[in-house]
Symmetry: C2
Subunit: 534 residues, 2 copies
């Protein structure tokens, strides 16, 4: 993902098990780590197992130790890279959170949403399990996330620990609206709503919602609805959830930037999250991971990737508007290759930010600068440095040997797509697949769908022997062999198909293609459990 | 389309038949018109007929006087608005151009592409028909275009006269590449190509192409191919055509801006063009007109609209980057309605440029400014002024009673979509429909498809009586009644369905809905003629 910074990265990596605040300080920083490096919490690995997992030669595939450890019997598998970084820089998080309503009469704003499984304090200090009785006004939120780190593991680890708390916080702000299907989002909190046709019950809920924290004046006090002669845009509940996920990413990125002052938070990471809330799946993506739904064997893409190629026009537009960001070393124009001095005066193919086609222009001296976007496919880079254009962190990342910051070109904002899960029927073989780019670099959507569909169709959950024989064909999973669901094996199978097997000429997958040498992480989320929640 | 400038527009309109350089000077300008106002050339209307067509009460539907006047037996129909502007501000152009190769040995660069039907001098001065023998290296180009003007008709008239010349010019620059299917576009002209596997014939063609005008040094002289250790992006022929259309729009806009110094070129216009070249349809759109293909009764959208809503994030991003463009009167944030002073300190729904969802923010003084994007659907406006965000002209357009220019927010760049016509089979009822927003405001894609499919299915081209009876049911066309093809009637039928009939309560269409009071222009292009060209 990084090229010009890659050499610097090697020195970032301290001891393999870079520890807590008193451990090593990878990244050349004297600051302590905020969170020690580890593998995803739900894998439940011992330090020894984490050490074993980082074998760049054997590349063991890690799967869950226990069946049904994750919600909806989600399957998960991962494997470390073939040596491109000491640590597996992918991270994952999966949680079921119960967001509780703030005390209604609280006079002091409280930014802590109450959740059942854990506190959602954005500094991540656990208050332990909070046992609250669920009631109809609680909001249950299922959350799966993958983070693909680069130039260090610090940001990915931090995001895996904290991003869901930010999402929960933002959802808490609007949960009273979300919990009432009849309640339209008030344009301004603390005002009487207009244009509603509501039952008395929902009117009460609305009045309460309208007095949410932040509403100035006298919350809850009756006021005469003002007469208005203009129309207001109606905002759906779905839009509020999308906004909550979007702003959570932003807050996470701000927190990372701030905490870099006191902690060593190395590198950056992509983030792909799936949130299940009130019958809908919200897929938020910032980076080049991918999620697809496989329904009846058909692929439904539910995310797009953000790369120098897919975001070319946004990046060129920004550079055109603020050329100072290019430090006189780069040009916002795209050329098929670097322009040579002897070509000044000749006509060369180019693309400007407004173009999707190509045309010829006469080369000038200014065009001799390096192109902002350069290279194709997986080798495409922004500012000759980074191959992914959305994600968290990277605040200190600069073009090698220069003072040009990359961050202004990176966006921490996810694209959020919505899948109306509860409105669709799903069978036992219908799943959502989330994978980091290690998976998708070598397998197409169609190949993944065929593998998953074929694997699940041939699985009999009650036939443990067949599972074992499959395990024998593959790398043995780390940890004791316990009864596992087909979905777990499907995740393992996918990682296996993307990593391949070690032959004379390296890692090879089907048709003797090269396997992925990258970190690979995969969730398989069965969708029929979503039906049952409604 | 325009609100705050609308009052000013009324005074723009001089005499109905505002004439040539010595006629009236609408727009309050003392400068002469470059082109007199008229209806599309292919309608062949007399001045009297043009006068009749502008009846805002009867709103006669104009159709072609002769069958097969347009290529591919294209049907066309139009109607004037119900009074919102004195003139019909829609314009149309349809041409078949033969772009000829520049003289190979020409030492003086010649920016005039040679075309068979007319010269393509970008100042529009006709050199009359140029009779050249077609040869295999000529490039035949079919062109259909709609322009929807606002705040005056000058820009739409000028674009209808000139845009295709700009397209022809840009295509001429790359025609030697385009005419040779085996020739890959050279990255730099005047250099030996690399990485090609070509036949000797195509190598020769390539060498010639590589010495196209603009290549400095000694064109045509042999040079040793440099050794290169980097890969080059391969650029398809299709990308060159897309780039040609994109840059033609840009050049057209620059020409309009320049000629405003010497001519009265009022207002602005959207532009929707369809170019058929070498087996493919290229649909370029800048504005809110629309093109769809109807194939086997199914709708295939081949353009997107560019409006304050569809381009919200681009506009907000620009305003965020260059707040000076907002003149301290507007805010780049979006609110569901205008913020009131008493709401400062309260929490209100908002969207920033990175968001597609909504969230609450605490209102500050700065939020009291008018939102950059305001209103919904057809009423959405940029800077409270304009409802379309791409097009040509509008260089002088300002926010009413201010010094804030709209132009920086408008883009003259089209989105170009490609439909591989020759690769698809088309029947007699398969057509491409182009319409200005007057059509699509009141009829959905589906309604248009059903109307067209139903109409064509019931048409027997040999049964003239049935045609006449259909004409009787509708408004009689302007001009003598001549034998007409079903496609002509289909265009007329569509305009009729969108305009409706005049009842007590205004223009009404099916289900007693309101008809369009806007100018309406429609092409129906039968696609099976495209098959025959290949």
């Amino acid at each position: 993902m990084l090229t010009r910074v890659k050499s610097a990265v090697a020195s970032f990596m301290g001891g393999m098990m870079a520890g807590g605040p008193n451990g090593d300080h990878p990244g050349g920083s004297d600051l302590p780590l905020k969170f020690p490096y580890s593998r995803p919490e739900f894998l439940g690995l011992s330090p020894d197992e984490v050490e074993c997992s980082a074998d760049h030669v054997a590349r063991p595939i890690l799967i869950l130790k226990e069946t049904r450890r994750l919600p909806w019997s989600t399957g998960y598998a991962e494997v470390i890279n073939a040596g491109k970084s000491t640590l597996n820089e992918d991270q994952a998080c999966c949680e079921v959170l119960v967001v509780k309503r703030r005390p209604a009469e609280s006079s002091t704003p409280n930014r802590t949403p109450m959740t059942r499984r854990r506190s959602s304090l954005p500094n991540g200090e656990g208050l332990g399990l909070r046992e609250c009785l669920e009631n109809s006004e609680d909001l249950t939120l299922h959350y799966w996330a993958l983070f693909d780190g680069h130039a260090g593991s610090g940001t990915a680890v931090m995001a895996a620990r904290l991003l869901h708390h930010h999402i929960a916080l933002h959802l808490q702000e609007v949960m009273e609206i979300l919990c009432n299907p009849n309640l339209q989002a008030p344009t301004c909190l603390g005002e009487e709503p207009i244009n509603h046709h509501l039952t008395p019950t929902s009117q009460r809920a609305l009045t309460r919602a309208a007095s949410l924290r932040g509403a100035a004046g006298a919350p809850g006090s009756p006021s005469t609805p003002p007469t208005r002669f203009f129309t207001e845009k109606k905002v759906s509940h779905e839009s509020l959830v999308i906004g909550a996920v979007e702003n959570a990413f932003k807050d996470m990125d701000v927190q990372i930037e701030k905490e870099k002052a006191v902690y060593n938070v190395s590198g950056g990471c992509t983030a792909l999250v799936v949130v299940y809330l009130l019958g809908k799946l919200y897929v938020g993506n910032a980076g080049d991971s991918r999620a697809i739904i496989i329904r009846g064997g058909e692929v439904i893409p539910v995310s797009s990737e953000f790369t120098p190629e897919s975001e070319r026009q946004r990046l060129q537009f920004l550079a055109y508007m603020q050329p100072n960001l290019l430090g006189n070393e780069f040009t916002h124009l795209e050329f098929p290759r670097r322009v040579q001095r002897k070509e000044v005066g000749k006509r060369m193919l180019y693309r400007d930010f407004t173009m999707s086609g190509w045309a010829y222009k006469t080369i000038e001296d200014d065009d001799l600068k390096f192109p902002l976007i350069y290279g194709e496919g997986k080798k495409a880079r922004v500012l000759a440095t980074i191959g992914v254009t959305r994600g968290l962190g990277d605040h200190n990342l600069k073009v090698h040997d220069s003072n040009i910051y990359i961050k202004p070109f990176l966006s921490c904002c996810p694209e959020v797509k919505v899948y109306p899960l509860a409105q669709c029927e799903h069978g036992a073989d219908d799943v959502l697949v989330m994978g980091t780019d290690g998976l998708w670099d070598v397998l197409s959507n169609q190949e993944v769908a065929e593998a998953v569909t074929c694997f699940l169709a041939n699985c009999d959950p009650d036939d443990q022997h067949r599972h074992v024989s499959l395990v024998t064909q593959m790398q043995p999973p780390v940890g004791p062999e316990l009864p596992l669901t087909p979905v777990l094996f499907t995740a393992q199978d996918l990682v296996m198909r993307a990593r391949g097997v070690l032959k004379d000429r390296g890692w090879r997958i089907s048709n003797d293609r090269l396997g992925s040498g990258d970190d690979i992480s995969v969730y398989i989320i069965p969708l029929m459990y979503g039906n049952k929640q409604n």
